[in-house]
Amino acid sequence: MSGLPYISPIYASIVVVGLPLLAFLLQAIRGKKSTSGLFALVSIALSTLISGLFVLPQVWQEAPVTATVHWFTIGDSVFTLGILLNNLSALMQFIVCIIALPVHIYSKAYMKGDPGIHRYWMYLSLFCFAMLGLTVSKNLFMMYVFWELVGIASYLLIGFWFTKEAAVAANKKAFIVNRIGDIGFLIGIAILFSLFSTLDLVDLFGNEGVFAAGLYKDTGLITLAGICFFLGAMAKSAQFPLHVWLPDAMEGPTSVSSLIHAATMVAAGVFLMASIFPLFNANVLLLMAIVGTITALSAAYFALCQYDIKKVLAFSTISQLGYMIAAVGIGVWDAAMFHLATHAFFKCLLFLCAGAVIHEMVHHKEHTKLDFDPQDLRHMGGLRQYMPKTFVLMSIASLALAGFPLTSGYLSKDAIIIAAFEWAAQHGPGYIVIPIILVIVSILTAFYIGRLIFKAFFGPIRIPQIDQQAPHIREAPQTMLVPMIFLGLGSLFFAFSLNPLSYHQAEILTGFSVRYAFEEIHSLHLVIPIVLTVGALCSWILAWKWYVKGKYPLQANSLWITRGGEQFGLDELYKKTFVNGTLALGRASQWCDKHVLDGLIVHGTAHVVKSLSRAIYWVDKHIVDGLVNTVADTTYYIGHLLRWVQNGRIQNYFGFAFTIILIGIVYLIFR
């Protein structure tokens, strides 16, 4: 890039992060008037350009560039704001830009005419800001801030159609499940802070950091920290058993699903794991490998049982994220990042193609005024004739997902599976289960995506129609097709490696140059690709027979399929245990508040005091006052008795006087 002027990558990346923020603010201020999405589009286009021209080329394969400014001091501890640009962060930033840009362009056509469009662009810019900020954060505290901000952007976009009950239930669920992970992240931060008094990624995990200096990692607290951060990643990257929010998140607009819930945000967990990789000791890594593998397998199975086109893709995303986490777990975080990059392109494309199909299905539904679910695969079929370009693009993306040669997915998936075998060979016989499951998942993946393509694009037209009229389905408009074509090119091998058959020349892997803890086994590099490719081909032949030729041998209503579609009741289980449990606890504490604290203690005390005062009043009235009154009454009575003496009649007075005199005389006489 010699022709370009040199701009410090730090400033360039500040601009990359800042532009979407600016767009967000401008759109927030303009409010309802801001329907064109111009700010969002321009900002992300510029961000992509700057990231691609001034950040990635200048950082890639160079020494990490950092910048730190003081943020605030609390007590004696200093917290900073910083930007860290190394291979990992610059690459991630660029991936986010390069995926976000086509999705923005696509949205222009896809979301046209929506009454809430001004909010859509605003939220999208907010998401881009948060996600780009997350990628280049230099310390964990900052990362946590952006980590939650992407969560809120995701919340807002899932619930974009807020009058839909399912959408607002889904966004609440997404946010709360992610909060569980956030708490893990926060506790992880607290552990590292209390151990090392710093949260700086370079100071902790850099080449001269605490962990590079050979810290003893097998302590309980460091294991706990590892598990806590992994919990954060599990929620964000939808790992079993915290994956339940992602299928529901498909209630958001499809363009949002493709950007946030397939390509970028959900991969943030993997990115976090790669960023803090030195933290993890062997126990945590094994846990990751196991959780990732379980996720990959279970989600692939659930994907087989779905009829909703977006749900198939959602479970597929979960399954692929499981691959990435498993890759981190076996220590090849570079392969995980490679898969993250390739997956971003082809999964984004899959969603955009699905969006194009749904768009036309909805169009048909509105035109014919029939009532059917436009996302249901059972209503599709034969769309190949109407949407040939979409069909081709979706097929390319599907091949990449299945890991077929000449696609990008082939390279990255092989990198993970081969490494997994090598890792297992190093560790012992029991460990071989993990790579074998990953192979099975790969074949299942080929099968479910083949099923999707065959059901949607081949076979007879199953769309509900009136009087056999031609369905109102056309090819997607140019504005949607162009970004899809771009992503389609990105799903092919040459976007990542000039050698279509071996991942060793892949730029991303050579760039990270991670030293593996296990021996390379050369024979695997030949055997595994052949096994995977043959497995995929076989599964497609089977799928072709079942879904196109109509020789479906299974009972569609069998328990394995219907229950699998409901994830074997996992959601209900959560509802019954955690949701209802929490609500019951809430009611119990309310009851306690009302009847024990307020009822028994406060009102009880009041009652006792009142009764006591009544008793004292009684004593006062009847005993104390009674005594007083008795004295008074006695005095009164005596007075009453004597009263008639003073009656004012002179005769009486004379009578008294004579009587007294008489008594006196009698006394004197008898003395």
Binding site: W71, F72, T73, I74, G75, D76, S77, F141, Y144, V145, F146, E148, L149, I152, G159, F162, T163, E165, V168, A169, K172, F175, I176, R179, I180, D182, I183, L186, I187, I189, A190, I191, F193, S194, L195, T582, L583, L585, G586, R587, A588, S589, Q590, D593, L597, D598, I601, V602
Partner: protein, 533 residues
């Protein structure tokens, strides 16, 4: 007269003006109140900007700024010596942010009282009296003066709830009054005990000066509250007893579980502006009292009792949150969320780490204007339809988009979304509490983890409320009539809400605006107590 005295007694001038003006001019009362509180706010802001963060406060008068000391009462008591009560006020990093917060919340409360027609004279007069009392509480450094302000505060609140409140106002007012009085009466005993235990080193007379009470050297040997004295009441050492009694007095204000049941009733029955003051300022007096009085005067007791304080904090966080989840009245939900959020304050203080105590202070400030905004938002809907039962509303976002926007922002700010102030407070309470075990202050790590569950639960109850009342298809209990009545926010309402939420964003992104002022004081406090460990 110094700036701080001016700040305290400005409302008194407003009060006099309001009382003296004839009833025919009652339209002007709100303007008088607004003018004075606005000036007070600007003055507090100016003082805040002039305050240098190096002032260490707490136990050294030299660490305070805006100090004013006048001898107030001198009485020769013969054998008991000289009675010495000073008018001693000052501000440090702990009190000044709370003074600024109080003036802001008062301003919001006056704004929320704009349509108050009934007995406007009495209403605004009492509001100004309350204003003076809280400013005095946050400034007083003499315990006697502190107590006077503390009791004066009760009087206007009782009448504000009891006269201008809702249906059940008498019950709520008396419950509030008796609860608080219960605490403060016993506080008086401790004040007297302290008075007889402490002497002014300069004059040798007994003193009410709180700063002298914080210095172990000023205690008379063998006196009731002397350090290391063997005095005990029912087997509780005297100093621990003093701490407990004072703690209960302030804990009622915070409030802690199980001494919180006055709060939901008082909040629900109080008129909106009084709810705003209750949540925004009154609860902070509890937290402030614990810092200024309990922890500073009894550092030895707080060092040994902090495990219990932490436990009470955790219980308050979780119990308050669970209760908030179970409420069906919008205002009660918010009231219980206050209990939960103030639990973080206690937990952070108990951690005795600089991060935890700073986090607690930050949480108090943040909760001050956030809960004020939340109660104001409840008031908006209650003003319009006189109902706030959660299930009577649905899909408000369709008819009141601006209101929904403000509610959503206030909710997310309160549930600790990064970028808003509550996040900084809660995160540092958790981090500080977690760190406590490493520092050795006796707070176990599980308390931090249990406390963090409160952050999760706050997301649950806020989002659930959002979902139930604001999203979905619009359906209202009062159908057509309510549709007409539920107008979106007026300009006045937005003028009140916007600054509070903007402040939440400002402090969330630039927390140094607060931390720079309080760091030195917090460190001094932490040293004062950890020395006693």
């Amino acid at each position: 007269m110094g700036l701080l005295s001016l700040l305290i007694f400005l409302p008194l001038a407003a009060l006099l003006l309001i009382v003296l003006l004839p009833k025919t001019l009652q339209g002007t009362f709100k303007y008088i109140a607004l003018g004075f509180t606005l000036f007070q706010f600007l003055l507090a802001g100016y003082m805040y900007s002039q305050f240098d963060g190096s002032a260490t406060g707490i136990n050294q008068l030299s660490g305070y700024r805006f100090v004013e000391q006048l001898s107030w009462i001198r009485l020769d008591l013969g054998g008991l010596g000289q009675l010495e009560i000073d008018y001693l006020i000052g501000a440090d990093g702990i009190s000044l942010p709370l003074l600024l917060l109080s003036s802001l919340v008062m301003l919001m409360a006056v704004g929320a009282s704009w349509n108050m027609q009934r007995k406007a004279k009495g209403y605004f007069a009492l509001l100004m009296l309350l204003n003076m009392a809280v400013m005095g509480i946050f400034s007083a450094l003499d315990f006697f003066l502190f107590y006077i302000f503390y009791e004066v505060m009760l009087f206007p609140l009782y009448f504000l709830i009891g006269i201008w409140g809702g249906v059940n106002r008498e019950y709520a007012a008396i419950k509030f009054f008796i609860y608080t009085l219960f605490g403060s009466v016993f506080m008086l005993l401790i004040i007297v005990g302290l008075y007889f235990s402490v002497t002014n080193p300069e004059t040798g007379a007994h003193t009410f000066n709180m700063l002298y009470m914080m210095n172990p050297g000023n205690y008379i040997d063998g006196s009731f509250f002397a350090y290391g004295s063997s005095n005990a009441v029912w087997g509780i050492p005297a100093r621990m007893l003093g701490f407990i009694v004072l703690f209960i007095a302030f804990a009622i204000k915070i409030p802690i579980v199980p001494l919180h049941t006055w709060l939901p009733d008082a909040h629900v029955e109080a008129p909106t502006p009084v709810s705003i003051i209750l949540a925004g300022i009154l609860l902070k007096i509890g937290g402030y009292g614990i810092i200024r009085v309990c922890m500073s005067i009894f550092p030895d007791a707080s060092a040994s009792a902090n495990w219990w304080l932490g436990l009470i904090g955790v219980i308050s966080i979780l119990y308050g949150a669970l209760n908030a989840l179970a409420q069906k009245d919008f205002k009660r939900t918010i009231a219980y969320s206050s209990v939960s959020h103030m639990g973080f304050v206690l937990l952070g203080l108990a951690s005795l780490t600089a991060e935890g105590v700073s986090g607690a202070m930050f949480q108090m400030i943040s909760h001050g204007f956030l809960s004020a905004s939340l109660f104001f938002l409840v008031g908006v809907i209650y003003d319009r339809v006189h109902d706030r039962y959660i299930y009577h509303f649905r899909g408000l976002a369709n008819i009141m988009p601006k209101y929904t926007g403000y509610v959503a922002i206030a909710f997310f700010a309160s549930l600790g979304l990064p970028g808003f102030s509550a996040f900084i407070g809660e995160a540092f309470v958790i981090i500080g509490t977690f760190n406590a075990e490493s520092v050795g202050t006796g707070i176990p790590r599980w308390m931090a983890i249990a406390g963090s569950l409160g952050i999760l639960l706050s997301a649950v109850y806020f989002l659930w409320t959002l979902q139930r009342m604001f999203f979905g298809k619009t359906r209202l209990k009062g159908s057509e009539e309510w549709f007409k009545a539920l107008k979106d926010l007026t300009v006045r309402e937005q003028v009140i809400l916007f600054p509070a939420l903007a402040l939440a964003l400002l402090l969330g992104t630039m927390p140094f605006l607060v931390f720079d002022k309080l760091n030195a004081s917090v460190l001094n406090l932490v040293t004062l107590i950890t020395e006693q460990l």
